[in-house]
């Protein structure tokens, strides 16, 4: 039958009481029994009415656990716990019971009561009403269990003074609210607030302030006193302070990080770092927002009437916030370390820093975080890379790229564009790219720039960049290296193609060889012939236009006329700076003009080298030319004129001819060596390098290197270099000078002989005339005095002899003497001169050969051998120590004679 709850309760209570209270005893007065009954009734009523609601959260599990715990403590019957476990699970399966937890809890309490009720319950019955948990070990156990309860103590222990509460405070079980720890603190602090147990400021207030704090904003309770510190209210218990400390860390970090994000110095990479950190901070703020939502919801459910506002029930406490923000705190900590170490760095260094974190740090969290940052940060870097690699333009407002433009650069031609405009900064190379990669990128950009400005082929660069430019990004290493390789090949190929075709590099190089290195023999011969007489005159009487006219003449009449006009246009005859006393031969030079961009390869240094070599070769050629003309004259004259005067000067002529022959041979060998052994061989090497270099692709750098090596080897092998302290140049110059003077002397001798011949002729003619005239012979006196040697030009004879002055100045004073004595003395002086020159020449050649024999280069040794193929010279090795020169010289002579015999072993000659 339906009955109200009250009625049911009453009924049940009555029945219970009947059962519990023993019925009237035999000897008990009825009044007593009744009294008992009434007492009991009242008690029951009172209790039930007073506490209608349980003050503990209804949790079946909790009740069951506490039961189990108690059973476990009962070591006498351990199987009880297991049995209980089974029963509990069966109970849970029963659908009937609504208040399972209530039943269990009730049983639990009754069991407890039974356990310790026997000891103290009777005595302190009255006090029992007030509260449990005090007095006796059971009470302690109880408190312990309550302390460990997940939802905290059911009520604040009133007026506790037991020190055993203290150890509870130190427990740091996660998730446990601070309530139970807080309350003993209440006693310690001395605030006797037994009823409420609250502390100022309350946890609810702190929680309300927390979202603001986490964002770095000051709030009522937790104010930020300055940039980097947070003041905590002092009236809080220590554990609370500890938790607030933990929560303060992310807030302070957030503050400093947001300051960093707002600041705006540093380059592009720094800015991207800021934006990446800003993103992370935003996600942190999202977390704070969620937290705030939670807190707000929890605070809304707060019920003031419950002790401590029932915060535990709502599920959000300060400790929980600590746990929730822990991961974010780690992230913030990491970010602030990154920001610290990033101060003062920029560009590639910054990227290297973060990349280091990403790759070599052990913590996965750090690694993942750094990866995230990296993809953001490298974006400006890759932009710069892209612009550089595909456009050849450096878009680097904050100098963060590892290619930097040279601040000292002046736009002085293509050479500087190639060499000096851009520099590779090793320090700025980030560790995400290798050094080799960086080199390639540098080359590509440089070449693109060069093509655009040096070669004026900007159109190609535009089309190239339009076709192939593609987005580069981090993490795409394979793609990246592939695109860079492609770009490298394309650009280099284009550059070489331009060099070859548009600027005709090969044509110009071979033109240089033909003209400046005397490759075009017929042209040079013609030039020499036409210029020879001109250049004998002093330097200040040379005119440019005459030189140019001769040049043109030579070009037109030789095979050089078939060269392209561009090449011929660049060829020019020029005069070097003249100083006093020089003749034309010394100041003449050819010149080949090189424009940009070819002057990247044929650099100014290279041009100078070419001129030096030309100078040297030209001198040699001149000597050869001079000697051969004299030789020709002598030979032709030998048949006619000279034979007639053979009795007087025949010996001299023999010696002269020998000397001439030796010199001619020397010069020829030298020339052959230089032109063929040295120049041609090096040229071959250069061609081979241009066609197929060892390094794979032909780049502009390889071309430059090859060309420089070519010139250097020519200089060295061509006896122009000063390698090893042996200065061939001076020796050769001396030799050439000697040869020229020798030629002059021979010319003198020839003129002398011709004069003699003419004189004799005239004499013969005169004799003829006289004979015909009837007189025989000539008078003695006439014979002698009549002779006016044409070799002694009188004062009125100022023809070309004066300016010519082939005669050594020694002869001039002899003009005062007249007649046969003058002649004789002149002849003597000529003779002397001849001999001295020849011996001098021989000695010098010996020294040269001695030096040549010890050169490391096999070609130079070959020159020495070839020059001395018939062993006519005895090579002498020069010694460095002066005082021992005499002694060694004797030894030398002896040894060199021996070595001269065994000349085929050139490398021999141990001293």
């Amino acid at each position: 039958m339906p009955s109200t709850r009250e009625e049911r309760v009453d009924d049940a209570l009555q029945s219970l009481l009947e059962r519990l209270i023993p019925p009237q005893f035999e000897d008990e007065a009825e009044a007593l029994a009744d009294q008992r009954w009434d007492e009991a009734n009242e008690l029951a009523r009172d209790l039930i009415d007073r506490e209608p609601e349980a003050s503990i959260a209804d949790d079946v599990q909790h009740a069951a656990d506490s039961i189990k715990r108690r059973l476990l403590k009962d070591t006498r019957n351990p199987e009880r716990a297991a049995a209980f476990g089974g029963l509990y699970s069966r109970l849970l399966a029963q659908p009937v019971l609504g208040q399972k937890w209530g039943i269990l809890y009730f049983l639990d309490r009754v069991g407890e009561g039974e356990n310790d009720g026997g000891r103290v319950g009777r005595v302190e019955g009255g006090r029992r009403v007030q509260g449990s948990g005090d007095g006796g070990e059971g009470g302690q156990e109880e408190v312990f269990d309550e302390a460990f309860a997940r939802h905290g103590l059911p009520r604040v222990p009133q007026g506790l003074e037991s020190p055993r509460q203290v150890p509870l405070r130190e427990r740091a079980v996660p998730g446990r609210p601070k309530m139970q720890a807080q309350t003993p603190e209440v006693e310690v602090v001395g605030e006797q607030e037994p009823s409420s147990g609250k502390v100022e400021p309350s946890e609810a207030a702190l929680l309300r302030d927390l979202p603001f704090t986490l964002q770095g904003l000051s709030s009522t309770n937790l104010a930020f006193s300055d940039k980097s510190s947070l003041t905590l209210p002092t009236s809080l218990p220590v554990p609370l302070i500890a938790l607030l400390h933990a929560l303060a860390e992310p807030s302070l970090l957030y503050r400093s990080l947001s300051d960093f994000v707002e600041s705006s110095d540093g380059g592009l990479v720094g800015q991207s770092l800021r934006s990446a950190i800003g993103q992370e901070l935003r996600s942190y703020l999202g977390l704070v927002a969620t937290l705030e939502g939670q807190i707000r919801r929890a605070l809304a459910q707060l019920d003031e009437s419950l002790p401590r506002g029932g915060l535990g029930k709502a599920g959000v406490t300060l400790k929980r916030c600590v746990v929730w923000t822990r991961e974010a705190t780690l992230g913030l900590r990491l970010m602030s370390t990154i920001v610290e170490s990033a101060k003062g760095k920029k560009g590639g260094e910054l990227i290297s820093l973060i990349h280091n974190l990403a790759t070599s740090h052990g913590d996965t969290f750090v690694y993942v975080f750094a990866e995230r940052l990296l993809s953001n940060i490298t974006r400006p870097f890759y932009n710069m890379l892209r612009a550089w690699v595909y456009d050849g333009e450096l878009e680097d407002p904050y100098t963060e790229f590892f290619v930097s433009s040279n601040p000292d650069f002046e736009d002085s031609g293509a050479t500087s564009v190639w060499e000096h405009k851009y520099l590779l900064q090793e320090g700025m190379i980030p560790s995400i790219v290798t050094s080799d990669f960086a080199q390639r990128v540098y080359l590509i950009g440089k070449s693109l720039n060069f093509i655009r400005y040096g070669c004026h082929d900007g159109a190609w660069v535009e089309s190239y960049s339009k076709d192939t430019s593609r987005e580069l990004k981090y993490g795409d290493t394979a793609n990246l290296s592939q695109s860079i390789d492609e770009a490298y090949k394309t650009v280099m190929a284009r550059l070489i193609y331009l060099m070859e075709t548009k600027f005709a590099l090969a044509a110009h190089l071979s033109a240089l060889k033909k003209y400046l290195l005397l490759g075009q023999g017929d042209f040079i011969a013609l030039l020499m012939e036409s210029l020879a007489s001109n250049l004998d005159r002093p330097a200040n009487s040379q005119y440019r236009h005459t030189l140019t006219a001769q040049l043109e003449h030579a070009i037109r009449n030789s095979n050089a006329q078939f060269d392209s006009s561009d090449v011929l246009r660049r060829l020019d005859a020029r005069m070097l700076e003249l100083s006093h006393g020089e003749i034309g031969w010394d100041v003449f030079t050819l010149e080949y003009r090189i424009d940009s961009p070819l002057d990247v390869i044929v650099s100014p240094w290279a041009s100078k080298q070419y001129l030096k070599i030309f100078n040297f070769l030209w001198r040699v050629k001149r000597v050869e030319f001079a000697l051969s003309t004299t030789w020709r004259r002598v030979q032709t004259g030998a048949r006619g004129v000279l034979s007639a005067v053979g009795d007087k000067v025949g010996e001299d002529w023999k010696a002269a001819r020998l000397g001439l022959a030796g010199m001619v041979h020397f010069v020829n060998q030298l020339q052959y060596y230089i032109l063929f052994e040295v120049i041609e061989a090096s040229w071959e090497g250069l061609q081979k390098t241009i066609a197929s270099p060892a390094s794979g692709t032909v780049t502009l750098d390889t071309l430059i290197e090859a060309h420089t090596a070519y010139l250097r080897s020519i200089t060295r092998k061509g006896l122009l270099g000063g390698a090893g302290g042996v200065d061939f140049t001076a020796q050769l110059h001396e030799l050439l000078k000697l040869m020229l003077s020798y030629r002059d002397v021979v010319d003198g001798l020839y003129s002398f002989s011709v004069a003699e011949f003419t004189r004799r002729q005239e004499l013969a003619a005169k004799i003829e005339n006289r004979t015909r005239a009837g007189r025989w012979g000539v008078a003695e006196s006439e014979d002698l005095t009549m002779s006016e040697s044409p070799l002694f030009p009188g004062p009125n004879r100022g023809t070309k002899g004066g300016a010519d002055s082939p005669l050594p100045p020694l002869l001039l004073p002899l003009t005062t003497t007249t007649g046969a004595e003058g002649e004789k003395s002149m002849l003597d002086s000529l003779r002397q001169r001849l001999i001295s020159l020849e011996t001098d020449f021989k000695t010098r050649v010996n020294v040269l050969l001695g030096d040549l024999a010890y050169q490391p280069d096999v070609d130079m040794r070959f020159l020495g051998v070839v020059m001395n193929f018939n062993g006519v010279y005895a090579p002498v090795r020069r010694r460095r120590q002066q005082p021992q020169q005499q002694h060694h010289h004797h030894q030398q002579v002896a040894r060199s004679e021996r070595s001269a015999v065994g000349k085929e072993k050139v490398g021999e000659g141990k001293e």
Binding site: L13, L71, L87, V96, F106, V110, G117
Partner: protein
């Protein structure tokens, strides 16, 4: 419906059995009938703590009376 009632009664009996075993384990010294009264009380919303206290008080009272009786009997 009688079948439903039957099953319900059976379930109730089972539950009481289980609870009795538990209470035995816990040494509550409650017999089956008392236990069932307590269960019904709790099901009706009585505070289990208070009920437990009632039980304990009553028992204590009983003991007091026992002692008194023993004393008076001894006299």
């Amino acid at each position: 419906m009688p079948a439903a009632d039957d099953s319900k009664r059976k379930a109730a009996r089972e539950t009481i059995d289980i609870l009795h075993e538990i209470s035995t384990l816990l040494n509550t010294h409650l017999d089956r009938q008392s236990l069932s009264y307590c269960v019904s009380l709790i099901e009706n919303g009585v505070n289990p703590e208070a009920l437990a206290k009632v039980i304990q008080e009553l028992r204590a009272q009983n003991e007091r009376y026992e002692i008194e009786r023993a004393e008076t009997a001894a006299q």
